[in-house]
């Protein structure tokens, strides 16, 4: 039911692992050029190859580690770990609030960080949410979008997952501003494992529901990013009627619309 993909879950879960270059993988891509390329995803064939590679890594490495983490770690500890890393990300959030001229929200998010860092014992407890300071979701990709930087092509980055031409530098800046990037490999590894474990439900939904998991992931990711950039104010509603009216009327498909369909 929930077809949302959290960018943090999907993009960041293997940020600091060994680097495999896009070029080295593009060699594995199918050279079939009979398929149409779309404006949004001009490198679809290469992207699909990297997507398959990432899935294999996920299946054989990340998923088992995340499952072991879920099995071995009490829920309270998992919540504490999640709160801790989320609190560090709030630095990035309020920084980008101000860059987007959202000053009230910036003050609120700065307050969140200060409350959780002090009263919340270094971020282990999310006291700020309990006292009504709502968590927001901002990052450099969103800031660049607000500044008018175009999205660029959809890209699947080896080990990192979905991104865009604008999202790649955005993620580099997000990572640079996150203190957990500098404290050492074990802490960063823990964050990545936690992110993957958190994304389990979303990834299972894709596996279970998607007819074409690559397209599903791409579209859910891009729609979700646009939703975050617009802060949920502008949705697909603007186009939906046009979309729903563009079908070609046919004289077939005569099933009665109001009657239950026969069970298989």
């Amino acid at each position: 039911m929930q077809h949302t993909l959290d960018k943090n879950n999907k993009i960041n879960w293997l940020v600091n692992l060994a680097c495999v270059t896009l070029l080295s993988l593009s060699g594995c891509a199918t050279t079939s050029s009979t398929l149409k390329t779309s404006a949004i995803d001009p490198y679809e064939e290469v992207n699909r190859s990297i997507y398959d590679f990432n899935n294999s890594v996920d299946e054989y490495v990340a998923a088992p580690v995340a499952d072991a983490y879920l099995w071995a770690t009490p829920v309270v500890v998992q919540q504490g770990i999640g709160n801790f890393f989320n609190n560090l990300k709030d630095i990035n959030v309020f920084f980008n609030d101000f860059l987007q001229a959202k000053f009230d929200q910036g003050l609120e998010d700065t307050g969140r960080f200060l409350v959780n860092t002090t009263v919340g014992l270094g971020g282990l407890f999310d006291i700020a949410t309990d006292i009504g300071l709502v968590k927001h979701d901002e990052d450099f990709d969103q800031t660049m979008a607000i500044w008018g930087v175009p999205q660029g092509p959809y890209l699947v980055i080896p080990l990192l997952g979905p991104s865009t031409g604008r999202g790649v530098p955005g993620t580099v800046l997000d990572t640079a501003l996150n203190p957990s990037s500098y404290v050492g490999v074990p802490v960063r590894a823990l964050e990545l494992v936690h992110l993957r474990a958190n994304a389990k439900a979303s990834l299972n939904t894709i596996k279970e529901s998607a007819l074409d998991p690559y397209v599903f992931t791409r579209d859910a990711f891009l729609q979700r990013r646009n939703y975050l950039i617009n802060d949920g104010k502008q949705t697909a509603e603007e186009n939906w009627e046009e979309d729903s009216d563009t079908h070609h009327p046919t004289n077939s498909a005569t099933s009665s619309p109001d009657k239950p369909i026969k069970n298989k």
């Binding site: 929930q2 077809h3 279970e208 998607a210 949705t235 697909a236 729903s244 563009t246 498909a253």
Partner: protein, 204 residues
């Protein structure tokens, strides 16, 4: 004069009796009611989810979804321009399989209840005569999920055409998937994939 009075009396009598007939109460559901009735039924099925099992949930949801959603229109929209390439028989097959898959997906995903509830937020009329119903799914100890229902009138009845969950449009997602598979692998492959999903759902 007497004739006029008698005609008047007869008219009043007819109107009086008509007021007791079901016709007087047969008001069409508003778009909001369509969504709320659908959500109520969904929650009711979730509450009985375990006892009903997949088959029971499917049977309960089948009439509910068929009534509240315009599955024929949705099925045509998701194949987009590719629909002109399909024969009449293929289009019928697509609508049937799509309807089975949609109901099976609901029956699979809404299998248990953990205190969830829907809350109506607002509604809005669109420029082209549609209605958007904004709701939130409240999940205990978790973030709420925004659900926007897009409805259009089919005859006298409002029908759900699309659902947007936290900014992700189900219709747009499906259209990308379906058109991509049709372009890459063809119609039979699409139907095979849809049937595979239905089978997987029903085995759970």
């Amino acid at each position: 004069m007497l004739l006029l009075l008698r005609t008047k009396m007869i008219l009043i009598w007819i109107l009086y009796w008509l007021s007791f007939t079901p016709l007087a109460f047969a008001q069409e559901e508003t778009a909001k009611q369509v969504v709320e009735n659908f959500q109520n039924e969904l929650i009711a099925v979730m509450k009985q989810g375990k006892e009903l099992g997949f088959k029971g949930r499917y049977e309960k949801l089948n009439p509910v979804i068929s009534k509240s959603h315009d599955l024929i229109k949705i099925a045509r929209v998701v194949v987009g321009k590719e629909s002109v390439k399909l024969s009449e028989e293929q289009q019928q097959k697509l609508v049937d399989t799509f309807s089975h898959l949609s109901i099976a997906a609901y029956a699979y995903n809404f299998k248990e209840y953990a205190g969830e509830s829907f809350k109506f937020d607002s509604e809005k009329e669109t420029k082209q005569g549609g209605t958007v119903i904004y709701t939130s799914l409240l999940v205990p100890n978790d973030k709420e999920v925004k659900f926007e229902y897009m409805l259009k009138k089919k005859g006298d009845n409002w029908k759900i055409i699309n659902i947007i969950a936290n900014g992700v449009s189900d219709l747009a997602l499906k259209r990308s998937e379906y058109t991509s598979i049709l372009e890459r692998d063809g119609f039979e492959a699409l139907i095979a994939k849809m049937n595979e999903k239905i089978d997987n759902y029903s085995k759970q």
